[in-house]
């Protein structure tokens, strides 16, 4: 099968429900749809906002590669990845990954794999804006994210 692959890099909010619904309707043999939504957090009230900077062009290419790789590794009917850039407040969705397959493990593993690789390969950077009004720091990359991405190596 040729999976339906949708990748969008945008500043606008996304409609997770509509994206999940669209992949759920890719035919009568879709048996499993997994979705992951990542949100901007306040970190216990410490943060007022996050600003996401990205590398246009390269962001699309990198997400495109990881989605293509996922559709090679697992039998998928469709994958949707939306990653936002710009300023976001706590509760705003930052990233959405949706995968549809006949089988549970394929849809789960593909979504998990895509998120692990996005974290370490997609050129996005988060800057913090503190609730006290001061300008914040750039969020540090976590070494645990590299470890999570490593687990998919064959």
């Amino acid at each position: 099968m040729t999976p339906r692959l949708t990748i969008r890099i945008q500043s606008e909010p996304f409609d997770a429900a509509a994206e999940i619904e669209a992949l759920s309707r890719l035919g009568e043999d879709v048996g499993a749809v997994t979705s992951f939504t990542g949100f901007c957090r306040s970190e216990g009230g410490r943060l007022a906002a996050l600003e996401l900077e990205h590398y246009p062009g390269m962001a699309d290419d990198e997400i495109g590669s990881v989605v293509t790789e996922a559709s090679t590794r697992w039998p998928l009917f469709g994958v949707t990845v939306i990653h936002r850039h710009g300023k976001m407040e706590p509760g705003d969705g930052i990233v959405l990954v949706v995968t549809a397959s006949s089988h549970r493990t394929a849809s789960f593993d593909a979504a998990n794999f895509i998120m692990d690789y996005l974290k370490t390969r997609a050129p996005f950077w988060k800057k913090e804006y503190r609730a006290d009004g001061t300008s914040g720091d750039w969020v540090d990359a976590k070494s645990v994210d590299d470890a999570l991405a490593e687990r998919w190596k064959v």
């Binding site: 996401l52 990205h54 996005l118 997609a122 050129p123």
Partner: protein, 91 residues
């Protein structure tokens, strides 16, 4: 006649590398003796305080050539756009 041959490159910077350099992009003429990404970062460090600050810990600055991730020992031959940025924190 020039005694040092130069090639022109577009450099782009992101996140705190961009803030420290004070530019989001620039065109530079790089001496032909600069062969790798690591050598390019080293050469940039000599261009002023802001560059020295941005590349003070070269081990944590990542690079991409023509929008593909590369290692520090990657050759810059044929590159048209080279990006420098911190480890990514998207997702």
């Amino acid at each position: 006649m020039w005694s040092i041959s130069m090639s022109e490159l577009k450099l782009v910077y992101f996140a705190w590398v961009r803030e420290r350099v004070g530019l989001s992009e620039e065109r530079v003429s790089v001496p032909d003796s600069v062969l790798t990404v690591a050598e390019l970062a080293g050469w940039l460090q000599t261009r002023g305080e802001e560059y020295a600050y941005a590349f003070e810990n070269p081990a944590i600055v990542r690079a991409a050539i023509n929008r593909k991730h590369v290692k520090p020992d990657a050759s810059i031959a044929g590159a048209s756009e080279i990006a420098f940025f911190p480890p990514m924190t998207g997702g």
